[in-house]
């Protein structure tokens, strides 16, 4: 049975919280009449991060799980993760209410306590999220999996905490496909790689004999589409992440690139060259039907289909400079979205379809920005010698992109909050480019 955390977790949490709260309130009614409403605003990046303490979990991987949760929450920028050295209460029992006064001394507002154990060869980890000032449990969950999969439990716990405290879906139990780069600038090896969003569990899916460019997950997270450059052409490949099988997407000509899945995962939109003219095409993976969506002597590339499937944004220089355009899914109704100074490219829809992230070139610098789906309310989030290739976290809060801080520097992966705050380097510290963020894992 496969269930999404969303459909499964939320009703479960609601029931748990209600039940637990009833018990708590009965027990603590006389002690704590006031019940604090603990939550974090995610709409304003300048809000004070919420102080949260994560005590080391007991049991197998306990310290590592707590560390992974701390790192996740700290990187989100929404939490001030307390240093464990400051904790007054060290011995925690997941089944005993903490000494809230001790935690108020270090001014933490939320507290996480957890315990792991092994049962029939499987790792089971339970945790509770406490409201320190409200002296109440906000969340109590247990996860179980195989022992080597412990990091996923840490990510599930992080997502549950994030959701409970922000009211928005988390994004920690997700993966990033990217291009791992090595070699000199004039002899670059570019391999397809996948990692957890926090840089852990990296894995290489190609051997480096071809230069891999611009990989993307499908919405279901089962497949990756990418293009591979060899001496005599550039080809689109689909790799199934479960079986490892690779299949070339047959396209006329020797230059097909900039591939993305359509939201239903059934088709690929991409651009292809015909005698120096690059246009946008769509090809059904099921029927093999190929359709040309743009017919213009200008460059039309970097297409991306909206989450509801009815719009495609793309990069074109048909108006004389490189700008972002939108069209209907059948290629009709082309309209220009960007009019500002500079060159705009690589438009990418947010998961909700309300925003578009893009790359801009202006004043000798590159920028990553976001704008509304109609091109209004443009906002620049990051700027450097080279930044390009934005991709959205599954909840639409964070944008990851490739960055070269200055001339001659290696590309690396960076993230920024959609509010423009919390710019930071990805935990994946080796040279990397072209990130593509998956949906949250099932």
């Amino acid at each position: 049975m496969i269930m999404t955390p969303r459909s499964f977790l939320f009703p479960a949490l609601t029931r748990t919280i209600r039940t637990v709260l009833t018990g708590l309130l009965l027990a603590l009614a006389l002690i704590t009449p006031a019940f604090a409403q603990l939550n974090v605003s995610v709409t304003d990046g300048h809000r004070r991060p919420m102080p949260i303490a994560i005590s080391d979990f007991s049991g197998p991987h306990g310290g590592s799980i707590a560390n992974a949760v701390r790192d996740n929450l700290a990187r989100s920028g929404l939490f001030q993760v307390q240093n464990p050295d400051s904790f007054l209460q060290r011995e925690m029992d997941v089944n005993v209410a903490p000494r809230f006064a001790d935690w108020r001394v270090i001014k933490t507002e939320a507290l996480v306590v957890g315990r792991g154990g092994t049962n029939a060869g499987r790792l089971r980890v339970e945790f509770r999220l406490w409201d320190v000032y409200g002296e109440s449990q906000m969340l109590g969950l247990e996860f179980s999996t195989t022992d080597e999969n412990w990091r996923r439990i840490a990510h599930k716990i992080s997502d549950a905490i994030y959701r409970r405290l922000t009211g928005e879906a988390g994004y920690f139990d997700s993966r990033v496909v990217f291009v791992a780069e090595s070699g000199s600038r004039t002899n670059r090896v570019k391999r397809l790689a996948v990692m957890d969003q926090d840089g852990a569990n990296p894995s290489y899916l190609t051997d480096g004999s071809e230069q891999v460019l611009n990989p993307r997950f499908n919405a279901q997270g089962q497949q990756i589409v990418y293009s591979a450059l060899s001496d005599r052409g550039i080809k689109i490949w689909v790799v199934d992440i479960e079986t490892g099988r690779k299949e070339a997407v047959a396209v006329p000509g020797n230059m097909a690139f900039a591939p993305r899945f359509t939201p239903d995962g059934q088709s690929i939109i991409f651009s292809a060259d015909r005698d120096g003219d690059v246009d946008v095409f769509i090809k059904s993976l099921r029927t093999g039907k190929l359709s040309q969506l743009t017919r213009n002597p200008a460059i039309d590339t970097s297409p991306d289909m909206s989450p509801n499937g009815d719009q495609i944004v793309f990069t074109s220089d048909r108006g004389g400079s490189t700008q972002i355009y939108a069209m209907n899914a059948d290629g009709s109704g082309v309209r220009r979205l960007t009019f500002g100074e500079g060159r705009y490219s690589t438009a990418v829809w947010s998961p909700k379809g309300d925003l578009i992230a893009f790359t801009r070139q202006s004043g000798g610098q590159f920028q990553i920005g976001v704008m509304a789906a109609d091109g209004s309310n443009m906002k620049i989030l990051a700027e450097a010698y080279l930044v390009e290739g934005p991709t959205w976290s599954p909840n639409g809060r964070v944008i990851m992109f490739q960055r070269e801080g200055g001339p001659g520097q290696s590309p690396s992966l960076w993230t920024v909050d959609v509010s423009g705050t919390n710019l930071r380097k990805s935990p994946w510290s080796a040279p990397g480019s072209d990130p593509g963020w998956s949906a949250t894992l099932p």
Partner: protein, 214 residues
């Protein structure tokens, strides 16, 4: 269909259930979620990408200011083919009667201004010499690769490189070279030959590179 060296097995599922506080009776909420995990990194057998010959630096590396200008121009074709060499091709095709021993001697790269794909006078002169070599070597086919500097986004540069390669090809066709003998490709900004992250290096990396196939 190519089987991957790295198969990614499905790993056991991740179970989640809510736990209740000791104050209340336990709540049975069990569900399954299947998860996938990629195997640890496979052995890295990195075959280096075909290296460009960095020694073959151009004699002319035009410097151009990086601007936002975009120029449209149809690929330029010469008014008239160079008549003496086309006669040479028709009458004495069997042997290399080109004045150049190799494409490199004729000039293997032509260079472009920032974000442009129209041919400069210098580029046309080099392509005319290439055409002479091609005519003198009738059995040979060539590959023209379009290259870009690093100051553009990856996918746009792949498209721009395709335009540059096509501009060079169209000029050669205009000189009477059989289109069947010319293949084009774009390397975008992926295969620079000059490491310098400067206007001088970028100018060298904006080129169409003619190579011998077969």
């Amino acid at each position: 269909m190519t089987p991957s060296p790295n198969s990614i097995p499905q790993v056991s599922g991740l179970k989640i259930r809510s736990i209740a506080l000791m104050l209340v009776s336990s709540i049975a909420l069990v569900a399954c979620a299947s998860t996938k995990k990629v195997e640890p990194p496979a052995v890295a057998t990195t075959a280096p990408v075909a290296a460009e010959n960095a020694e073959a630096a151009p004699t002319v590396a035009p410097t151009a200011p990086a601007t936002d200008r975009q120029v449209y121009s149809a690929p330029l074709t010469p008014a008239a083919p160079a008549t003496d060499t086309s006669q040479a091709e028709s009458s004495r095709a069997a042997e290399n009667l080109s004045p150049f021993a190799t494409i490199a001697e004729a000039g293997e790269r032509v260079f472009f201004e920032t974000d442009r794909f129209d041919l400069t006078d210098e580029a046309r002169a080099i392509l005319t010499r290439q055409a002479a070599w091609i005519r003198g070597n009738p059995g040979k086919r060539i590959l023209i690769a379009g290259n870009c500097d690093e100051r553009g986004t990856r996918e746009y540069n792949l498209a721009l490189g395709a335009r540059r390669a096509s501009a060079a090809r169209d000029f050669l066709i205009g000189l009477g070279i059989d289109p069947e003998r010319i293949e084009t490709v774009s390397y975008g900004k992926e295969r620079p030959i000059d490491e310098r992250p400067s206007a001088e290096g970028w100018a060298v990396n904006r080129n169409a590179h003619t190579m011998l196939l077969d």
